[in-house]
């Protein structure tokens, strides 16, 4: 096993402090980068920082898997948990940390050419990369903390940095400003709903530590303030995770922000919010509580299904490629919610697996689009005509990730939809399987429209014969595209991560 060799070669400081260093290193480097005058140096340092975080996430995964309890607890300032803040990492956290740092690393490598061409104001580049590192630190903090209030703080750190990064798109397209403002209002609403919910829980239980809340809740399930707190938390985190119909901020924010920001956000931000939702649904609250069961069958499952059908329809009728993919993102969140709403270990595992695979697909798709934006300056489907011939490498990677998005066999998307189907059948929800297949057919249409334009239509401008995206874009793009193929054939690794994560979230014995 390669994870063991990573553990044996890891230095002592990494083994002892990996859970906190993942968050603390980007947070330490961010202010340094902010005062750097040179944009290229800021980029190099950010890449290095993201690489260190990625390495630490691998170490953390190894530590979690080799730990007898499957939980790493890190006491900040050596204040013991219910009172002090605790970083609590189990298999679910480790999976999200690996995903965010991995995507963060690839995205930061790829960022330089697109950022350099899209942000004209060169002396702001240091600030931009500082915002990126803060966003990453915030997302990683959400994914590691075991304290409900601390989660809110990290959620705000990442969100505030995100608004700034989305607004930076204004140098290319002015519509980024209203998009960022809209996102700011909706995101702040989501965060306030979350914190109101935490307030209710704190009033009822008198503690903020998630594990401690979970211990005290069984005696309080009939308490009205616990139920109200639950409702507020679900709505707040649902807003952040773009749960249909709370997704209105997403399409604009994804279409008008700088390409690099779209890549990073689409693959991480909603995923982390969804992680927090899973954490609250299964670890803090328990699926046995009657009000939670009701919310699964009356809220989460219908909303998930509505998202995957309605937003797939909306995606079919978009003319801008980035909006197609943004609506498709909301639809994919629907698949994940549907899996989670089964409240069984296979269902949650299917949702988590789709979360992982979707990050790979959307990361690759938006990276390819970033390459096209750089070389051909257009994102409508008509602009994509003939790109299969003028930029074959970029568009082939796009096609692979697109097929994965549809769920064609031998791609990662197929595996996660298969797992979702198994989980749905096991519960007898065969009608939901039909709807999943139906919305996959819609995906054939919206992805097919782009591929048809790219590969079967003549180029709009025949003189632009061969113009490929730069190598710094192509390499991370192809790593993600090949990951889509690899995890579609040898799915053991993400499947194991997702199953361990589901087991950790539900607090069950392993069912592998």
């Amino acid at each position: 096993m390669t994870l063991e060799s990573v553990l044996t070669s890891a230095p002592a400081w990494a083994l002892a402090h990996a859970p906190i260093l993942i968050v603390a290193v980007p947070m330490l480097i961010a202010p340094l980068v902010a005062i750097l005058p040179n944009g290229r140096a800021a980029w190099l340092i950010s890449v290095l920082t993201a690489a260190v975080s990625f390495y630490l996430a691998i170490v953390t995964l190894g530590l979690v898997q080799s730990s007898p309890t499957g939980v790493l607890s890190y006491e900040i300032g050596r204040w013991p948990p219910p009172i002090g803040i605790e970083f609590r990492t189990d298999a679910l956290n480790a999976m999200i940390l690996l995903l965010v740092t991995g995507i963060g690393f690839l995205a930061s490598v790829f960022s330089w050419p697109t950022i350099a061409s899209e942000l004209k104001n060169r002396n702001k580049l240091g600030m931009f990369y500082a915002a990126f590192l803060l966003c990453m630190a915030g997302l990683l903090g959400v994914a590691s903390t075991g304290d409900a209030f601390n989660l809110f703080v990290f959620l705000e750190i990442s969100s505030l940095a995100t608004y700034v990064m989305v607004a930076m798109g204004a140098q290319r397209d002015r519509r980024a400003l209203p998009a960022a403002f809209n996102y700011l209002i909706m995101g702040t609403l989501g965060a306030s709903f979350y914190i109101i919910g935490i307030g209710f829980l704190y009033a009822a239980t008198g503690t903020l530590n998630m594990a401690d809340i979970a211990d005290r809740l069984p005696a309080l399930t009939t308490s009205r303030s616990v139920q109200v707190g639950f409702a507020f938390i679900i709505v707040g985190l649902g807003l952040k995770a773009a749960m249909w119909p709370l997704h209105q901020w997403l399409p604009n924010a994804y279409s008008y922000s700088p390409s690099f920001v779209t890549v990073f956000l689409s693959a991480t931000a909603t995923k982390v919010a969804l992680y927090a939702l899973v954490r609250f649904l299964f670890t803090v609250f328990r699926p046995e509580y009657s009000f939670e069961l009701a919310s699964f069958s009356w809220i989460l499952a219908p909303l998930g299904i509505a998202a995957m059908v309605i937003c797939s329809f909306q995606a079919v009728f978009q003319t801008d490629v980035r909006r197609v993919l943004a609506y498709s993102s909301v639809a994919q969140v629907g698949y994940m919610l549907l899996g989670v709403s089964l409240a069984t270990a296979p269902g949650v595992a299917a949702g988590l697996l789709h979360l992982f695979n979707h990050a790979l697909m959307k990361g690759a798709l938006f990276m390819a689009i970033a390459g096209i934006v750089m070389t051909h300056q257009g994102t409508t489907i008509r602009d994509f005509a003939g790109l299969g011939r003028t930029a074959p490498w970029t568009m082939t990677a796009f096609a692979i990730a697109g097929l994965s998005l549809i769920g064609v066999p031998l791609t990662a998307g197929f595996i996660s939809k298969l797992q979702l189907g198994y989980a749905l059948f096991a519960e007898g929800w065969w009608w939901a399987v039909l709807l999943v297949v139906f919305s996959s057919f819609l995906a054939v249409f919206y992805v097919g429209r782009i591929l048809q334009a790219a590969f079967f239509q003549p180029p709009i401008n025949p003189r632009k014969t061969h113009k490929e995206a730069p190598l710094l874009i192509l390499v991370p793009l192809w790593i993600l595209a090949l990951a889509n193929l690899y995890f579609g054939i040898a799915a053991d690794f993400p499947l194991g991560l997702a199953r361990d994560g589901a087991v950790a979230a539900l607090g069950l014995e392993a069912f592998r």
Binding site: W13, H17, I20, M27, L28, P31, Y74, E75, A130
Partner: protein, 150 residues
């Protein structure tokens, strides 16, 4: 400046700014034993700068406290805070474990004392810098479309 009709405002402002600054530092250092602390102190300090710009004009204040300085102050503040965390880790403790800062035996409290003061200083810098930066960003914004063009 004999015909300056803002003269009363400016003289009173000049009297108040040092008082506000002193009060800010009082809140900062009193934060250890009573209500208050670095966040409030940072806001109070920033208010002194904002009052200066309201009475003397934004350009004068930007010469006295350049925007780059305010930004750097905020960054340095965050750096100090996280830096203390790393310092305690290098001394063999956990992240932000003040007790470990000087490697003293369990009875000693120097580490706790110094740790909280340094961290609060970091918060003071960060809040002051960020508040001034936000004020500059709002006050210094130039309308991109003139009112007549609407």
């Amino acid at each position: 400046m004999k015909s300056d009709h803002h003269v009363i405002l400016r003289v009173i402002g000049k009297c108040f700014i040092p008082l506000i600054v002193i009060y800010g530092f009082y809140v900062q250092f009193h934060g250890e034993v009573g209500p208050g602390g670095a966040f409030q102190a940072g806001v109070v300090l920033a208010v002194a700068i904002i009052l200066h710009s309201l009475t003397f004009g934004l350009a004068t204040t930007m010469r006295a406290v350049p925007p780059v300085f305010a930004r750097t102050l905020a960054a340095v503040g965050v750096l100090i805070y996280v830096g203390v965390g790393f310092w305690s880790m290098m001394q063999g403790g956990l992240f932000l474990e003040y007790q470990a800062l000087f490697g003293e035996p369990p009875g000693g409290h120097d580490g706790q004392h110094a740790g909280i003061i340094i961290v609060e200083l970091g918060v003071l810098f960060a809040v002051t810098g960020a508040m001034i930066t936000i004020f500059y960003a709002l006050a210094g914004r130039v309308a991109e479309i003139r009112d007549e063009d609407w």
